[in-house]
Symmetry: C2
Subunit: 252 residues, 2 copies
DNA sequence: CGAGTAGTTGACGATTGTCAAGATGGGTGG
DNA sequence: CCACCCATCTTGACAATCGTCAACTACTCG
């Protein structure tokens, strides 16, 4: 909690306008002028360490958060210590959108590795969006995008086999990392097998077995957290194939 | 497509301010004045018949739609005729929110029974929301609510057994119908077993078997589409119980 | 009244979860 | 710097839920 000169100085430098994530994050599509006004309300990146919480289920909602560096896991704690992993979030991704309705956080967010998080006070963002139509519209789009993403997950969990789920997960990571300038075929997973399984609705053991099977089939090479995708096309083919039980079904 | 005097007259009468759904729908929390301005942009309810589409996957996005009477199914058509049912929508519920991002409808919406649908041109809604802060905030909340709902479904599909899924579905219908002034324990389902199964990620046969099992256990009485819930408490207990495979799991 | 669709029920099998044991590796303290 | 320890991961054997296939019934609609 020490707030040295160095960190403050750093915080000034990581203004949105200088941020490499500008095209992925909130400022997307804003004018230089508007981005500066956005900068005024965004609180400096907070450095958090593995296991630290960005917010917790039940806390009053004040701000949205953007991952600046590192990665974040959102999850819904269930009774008796269990949890349901809702998502993994990479730099530029916005979290906390589900809390707007009830003004209370309905899930928790914890960082998977040392991470920097930007805080965007929501009431100030709303006020600003009232004066900047393009920002207002952009927020609508971001919320809509989140809905679209959830919809995809619904299909994944409702209709796809274990194999297809893991392949879809790996491809999703691949694409998102690629957008951030990293290798789409060679990366480190910041989450555990357990978390992956929980997220995909599978047992840890199933995830583990699938990793080895994929490796045996030459789709990838895996060593602990390190994954190398060797055949992106084959994986795409895996996830694109018709859902389980999709024979001729007329339900008019 | 005939547009008789009678229908026009009717359309005038079903203005938002007279609508019994006002507390469920967009106008929630607006002043009388603001509701009248909203009325100006809402196009009259369109009467549609079973199987008619409100919009289709791939169409350009222009409007949001509100179910006024009847019920609507949203679904994502998959390749080769299959489909993935995304949701069932009752009066007062808003559909099309997932299309805002790409400005293209990413799912299709079809009515399950004769239904009236209100059309809300989105660009006009956005313009209006720019002038009415409470409307703008309300739209944020609606979008956030949709995310919250999807999140619940994610948990249902990812962690719950067939039994729990069907119980949760029936209770959801029960609560939503109750909010609309109908019986929470005695209602008709407007969707087929096939559609229920598809929505819940289950085979038709499983849904059918569960209905009979629930009936045998005295939880409900079912005759085709007609359902009578006999023991709401027991059903609540069913869905509230800890998810599948939720033993002591530490995943720090 | 006939035909086709929706729903139900039974038998069977496959995918995936559960339980259990062992392997691997990172972190910590001596 | 090494060794131990514990969490994570892997692998195997088994079980259960749920999907698939098939046959049959019962509506509904023309």
């Amino acid at each position: 909690m020490t707030e040295s000169k160095v960190i403050s100085f750093e915080a000034l430098r990581v203004a949105c306008k200088n941020c490499s994530l500008a095209t992925l994050c909130l400022p997307m599509g804003l004018t230089t002028d508007d981005v500066e006004r956005l900068d005024d309300i965004v609180k400096r990146a907070r450095p958090l360490h593995r296991g630290d919480h960005v917010f917790r289920n039940g806390e009053r909602f004040h701000s949205l958060y953007v991952v600046k560096t590192g990665s974040v896991k959102t999850y819904a704690p269930s009774t008796e210590g269990g949890e349901h992993v809702l998502g993994f979030h990479l730099p530029g991704e916005l979290i906390g959108l589900d809390a707007i309705e009830k003004e209370v956080h309905v899930c928790s967010a914890t960082v998977l590795e040392t991470s920097a998080i930007c805080e965007v006070p929501f009431s100030r963002l709303v006020a600003l969006s009232g004066r900047i139509p393009s920002l207002q519209h952009h927020i609508y789009r971001l919320l809509s995008k989140e809905i679209g993403h959830d919809t995809e997950m619904l299909l994944l969990l409702g209709k796809k086999s274990a194999e297809e789920r893991l392949a879809a997960f790996l491809l999703s990571m691949s694409k998102r990392l690629h957008k951030r300038g990293l290798s789409p075929t060679d990366f480190y997973l910041s989450m555990s097998r357990h978390e992956i399984g929980n997220y995909l609705g599978l047992a840890v053991e199933t995830v583990s077995r699938l990793f080895t099977r994929f490796q045996d089939e030459g789709l990838l090479k895996v060593d602990r957290k390190h994954v190398e995708l060797l055949d992106l096309e084959a994986m795409e083919a895996l996830v694109a194939r018709a859902p389980v039980g999709d024979r001729r079904q007329r339900m008019s």
